[in-house]
């Protein structure tokens, strides 16, 4: 690629601020004017998506946008910067927010949930923080927004305000804050104090391999601190918060715990591996194979656990951990194809998994059923939902012509670039496991009939639930056929 031109532009900042302005509207409208309140959410979502998407043509043309919010420390500003991978992630999150908003209206009203104003407010704040992470230009900025996301999702996770919410919330915050405060913060401080070139080196741009000056032991320690510090990435053994967070209402699980929050985790890993360590340094590091092994272990173990889960949302959560392992695997491979595949997988898996969660929620709204074993015969009664579930499953498994195939393809290429055939084998086994734990859900729904109650009056969930999941299912196809610009954003193709 030619040298990028850096242009100062307020749009990255806008994409971060718009949801916050939306919050004011949401709170002002409140429970009394429900439709107005949801209008504000929609306006914020559409405006954010428009701002984010409007940057794509220019970024594809080799432009990098920057916006400095304020100077935090000497030499380390709170700086937003838009490059390809960040923009790809931001686009996916902001576009899916629109779909999720529509879905949330159907879900929350369908179940007569309480405190919806609080729900929509913190939802918007979370999306704001997500944009911040996607566009962060240095380690400090990314840490700010990372913490903002942890705290702002807590009220969403504990939405039910009961005992299970307390357990889930404790696990959630315990893992996320423990890792970020006790592992990440020292790692940041370490970089701040000891990195060659002082504090400037915390920036993601410029020379890769800034930590190359450290001794190899130090590098390994730093790598571990960062990898486990970003616990949102769900690398084992710091993954348990994700199944715990499933007590949240399904729109939260769908957008935040399949797209925004978890992808923020792996995206941070991408930044650290690619832009702080640099792939050359990583490949020359002795213990780096172990990181690949760790990612592979996460993939396989979580898939095996997913097999045994009867609760649909928990099964999907463990599937998400596995898929996050793919993204982590791609960046630990430290090859261009692998890293590009990771970034792509952020988008591809997002679209597939959000469909699956939408379906799980729609089933719950329509029937009140949560368990896979209860779904027999549901395919006939809810054909659109279960059809979308099938498509989403196939995309996550990675079959063409669905989006999930593209990213897995590049992940495999990335592994082969390093002559790591065993990684490809792991990918294959894991895909097989995906088949085992995802397909039975749809198959049971379509091909097993329920003898006990033939006609219990079950029908599709409200259209506001069904439309988004149909759209995201179609999106899985679209991502396959329209993957060319995505490849360029991810830095694989020119």
């Amino acid at each position: 690629m030619t040298d990028p031109r850096i242009i100062e532009d307020v749009r990255p900042f806008l994409s971060f601020v718009i949801p916050l302005i939306g919050v004011l509207g949401i709170v002002w409208a409140g429970e009394r004017h429900k439709n107005l309140r949801e209008t504000f959410t929609f306006m914020a979502a559409f405006a954010q998506a428009a701002v984010v998407l409007s940057m794509i043509p220019e970024v594809l043309g080799g432009v990098i946008f920057e916006y400095q919010i304020w100077q935090v420390f000497t030499n380390v500003p709170l700086l937003l910067r838009v490059d390809g991978p960040g923009l790809l992630f931001a686009s996916v999150a902001s576009v899916l927010w629109i779909a999720t908003t529509l879905y949330a209206i159907g879900y929350m009203r369908g179940l007569h949930e309480h405190a919806q104003t609080r729900f929509y407010s913190f939802f918007a704040i979370s999306l704001s923080a997500t944009m911040g992470v996607a566009f962060s230009a240095n380690l400090l900025t990314i840490y700010f927004f990372y913490e903002m996301l942890s705290v702002s999702t807590f009220p969403l996770v504990t939405h039910m305000q009961d005992k299970s919410a307390r357990t889930g919330g404790r696990t959630y915050l315990g893992y996320l804050l423990f890792t970020s405060l006790c592992l990440l913060l020292p790692a940041l401080s370490w970089c701040y104090v000891w990195l060659e070139g002082g504090q400037v080196a915390m920036d993601f741009m410029g020379d890769d391999g800034k930590v190359g000056a450290f001794g190899s032991t130090t590098q390994i320690i730093l790598l571990l601190l960062f990898t486990f510090g970003f616990a949102k990435a769900g690398i084992m053994p710091f993954h348990s918060w994700l199944p715990g967070a499933m007590v949240a209402p399904t729109p939260v699980s769908a957008l935040l715990h399949a797209v925004a929050v978890v992808k923020v985790g792996v995206f941070c890993l991408y930044r650290v591996y690619a832009d702080v360590f640099g792939f050359d340094v990583l490949r020359s590091l002795d213990g780096e194979d172990w990181m690949i092994a760790l990612a592979c272990a996460t993939i396989l173990i979580s898939s095996l656990i997913a097999l045994s889960q009867d609760n649909l949302k928990r099964r999907l959560a463990f599937s998400t951990i596995g898929q996050l392992g793919y993204v982590a695997l791609g960046v630990t491979l430290a090859t261009q194809n692998g890293a590009g595949g990771s970034v792509l997988h952020i988008a591809m898996h997002a679209c597939g998994k959000i469909t699956l969660f939408f379906c799980a929620g729609a089933i719950f709204v329509a029937t009140g059923k949560k368990y896979v074993s209860e779904l027999r015969g549901l395919g006939r009664k809810m054909p659109i939902t279960m059809g979308a579930f099938m498509i989403g499953s196939l995309s996550v498994i990675g079959l063409p012509p669905l989006g999930g195939f593209v990213s897995k393809w590049y992940l495999a290429l990335g592994a082969l670039d390093r002559d790591a055939v065993w990684v490809v084998v792991v990918l294959l086994i894991s895909s097989l496991l995906n088949v085992f734990y995802l397909l039975p859900v749809a198959v049971t729904a379509f091909f097993r009939t329920d003898e006990t109650d033939e006609d219990s009056g079950i029908k599709e969930a409200p259209w506001t639930c069904v439309l988004p999941l149909a759209l995201t299912a179609l999106g899985c196809f679209a991502l396959f056929f329209l993957s060319a610009p995505l490849l360029r954003l991810a830095g694989i193709a020119q």
Binding site: H112, E113, Y143, F144, M148, T158, A165, R170, L177, L181
Partner: protein
């Protein structure tokens, strides 16, 4: 009048205090107005002093009170007020906190100590005079006098609280007096050895003696003096294990008293320690001459960890906060004694930010106490819908204590952690992180108790769907009075603003550290890679 800004800092509250006592006999309602006006005037004078200090070429404003100059007889005995950037910054914090608390105090004082307003406000203003004096004086003996002014008025203010306040005060009197006496003893040694009481004079004497045969840095009397002074200050600042007076004193004191004392007293004593280390004895003497610099960092670790654990065991907000203060004292002492540039910045910055966030928390706790009649964890359910603004202010303070960005607590903790890293004081780093985690637990447990319909043992109290198991009456929006709410929200705003504009504060601190007497320098670079 602008030239005498330092003097006006004291004139306002000192004469305000006398006026309260006199006018209060005739018209009790006037006291609050006098207090607020004197605090506002004093605060303005403090701001002017800070501007003068940062504007002057030497970054110091000196003011000799009543012609008691150093050259007059007896030599070295004078009343000099000396506002360098550090002193002026902390003074401004003291006066700012005093101003906010004085506004806040209108209703609590009327309700909790009826008919005692004149007494209360004259002590209140004297207290602020004493604290501001500690931060500005340039004389080691005057410092002792001002510490006693602050302490004696503090005893009075605390004793006006609930029935058990008297016993708590007695405890405080004993320990406080021991601390002050140790300090005085140390100053005595210093005076005998150096022949001066002026802080800069003492330091000059130490530096001048290095080239002579009688090197004061090696003299036993100076070392004993140093340890005695440090020990005295540690007792006064409630450094674990000398903290026993603090929790009871702050819990049983009236709301206004605890809101004023909790953010200031311990922090001002940290300031004294920084002053003693940097200005009086100097960097080289403090960190090289005694074993102290080897022992203290380990005591700090013990202090932070034990205070954090004790905070965890509390079931009542004010008591929990009191132990948090003890832990925070450990942070700041540690920041000084890791002995480097960043640690010192962290420590000074933490004095400022901790004062602001503790103020937030205590003002919030006062509002909760007034509305719920309890600050026990069990009585707090549903407060988010009942007092959303109070809770916002309170938890901004809480998040700052945890150290979440962009509150000021994050930045001061950042510098402390960096300081620990640079000196490779891993034990201090671990203690910091441990107590950070404890604070996460403390505040999110509080959020749980308020937000969720679950009892401590884990039973569901409501019927689900956000039902908290309370009557509508108990959850209906009902905020505290504006005169209490506005100071809280201002304090919360200050926590955020100092966080966002931390560079400006840190720049002032850096200028101060770069202009230390005799070009003393703290190590900046990391020892190894």
């Amino acid at each position: 009048m602008m030239d005498n800004a330092i003097a006006w800092i004291f004139i306002f509250p000192l004469f305000g205090s006398v006026l309260c006592a006199l006018l209060g006999m005739v018209k009790r309602e006037a006291c609050w107005y006098i207090a607020v006006i004197s605090m506002a005037g004093s605060f303005l004078a403090g701001a002017v002093t800070l501007i003068q200090a940062s504007g002057s070429p030497s970054h110091v404003v000196s003011y000799v009170l009543g012609g008691w100059s150093l050259d007059s007889y007896p030599r070295g005995v004078g009343i000099e007020f000396r506002a360098d950037l550090l002193g002026a910054l902390i003074t401004l914090v003291v006066l700012g906190v005093g101003l906010l608390v004085s506004i806040y105090s209108k209703l609590p004082v009327e309700e909790e100590t009826p008919d005692k307003e004149p007494l209360f406000y004259s002590l209140f203003l004297l207290q602020v005079t004493g604290l501001a004096g500690i931060c500005l004086t340039g004389d080691a003996f005057n410092l002792y006098v001002l510490i006693e002014v602050a302490a004696l008025t503090g005893y009075g203010l605390i004793a006006m609280g609930s029935n058990r306040a008297a016993a708590a005060t007695f405890n405080y009197v004993i320990l406080g007096t021991i601390g002050a006496s140790l300090y005085l003893l140390g100053v005595g040694y210093v005076y005998i050895t150096t022949g001066t009481l002026n802080m800069v004079g003492i330091h000059d004497a130490i530096v001048a003696s290095v080239v002579t045969e009688k090197n004061l840095a090696d003299s036993a009397s100076m070392q004993v003096a140093f340890v005695l002074i440090c020990l005295g200050i540690l007792i006064k600042m409630a450094f674990f294990p000398f903290h026993a007076w603090l929790p009871n004193a702050y819990c049983h004191a009236p709301t206004t008293t605890s809101s004023l004392l909790a953010p200031l007293v311990t922090k001002v004593m940290i300031y004294v320690m920084i002053r003693v280390v940097l200005t009086v004895f100097g960097v080289e003497f403090s960190f090289d001459s005694t074993l102290w610099a080897e022992i203290l960092p380990w005591l700090v670790v013990v202090a932070i960890v034990s205070a954090a654990i004790m905070a965890l065991a509390q079931r009542e907000i004010k008591r929990m906060l009191a132990y948090l203060i003890v832990a925070e004292v450990g942070y700041m002492v540690g920041g000084i004694w890791v002995y480097n540039y960043y640690g010192m910045i962290g420590s000074i910055f933490h004095v400022i930010s901790d004062a602001c966030m503790t103020l937030c928390l205590f003002l919030g706790a006062g509002l909760i106490l007034r509305k719920c009649k309890t600050t026990n964890f069990d009585g707090l359910r549903g407060l988010f819908s009942k007092m959303p603004l109070t809770m916002t202010g309170f938890f901004i303070g809480g998040f700052s204590i945890i150290g979440l960005p962009p509150t000021c607590g994050f930045f001061s903790k950042w510098y402390l952690i960096t300081g620990a890293m640079v000196s490779e004081r891993w034990e201090y780093l671990v203690a910091l992180l441990f107590s950070t985690m404890v604070m996460v637990v403390l505040f999110f447990r509080l959020i749980e108790r308020i937000h969720l319909a679950v009892s401590e043992s884990g039973e569901n109290l409501g019927k689900g769907h956000g039902d908290l198991g309370l009557t509508e009456e108990q959850t209906r929006f009902s905020e505290g009075p504006l005169s209490m709410l506005i100071p809280l929200l201002l304090a919360a705003a200050v926590v955020l603003v100092i966080g966002i504009y931390n560079q400006d504060v840190v720049n002032q601190i850096e200028t101060f550290l770069e202009n230390l007497p005799h070009e003393a320098e703290l190590p900046k670079e990391a020892v190894s890679k």
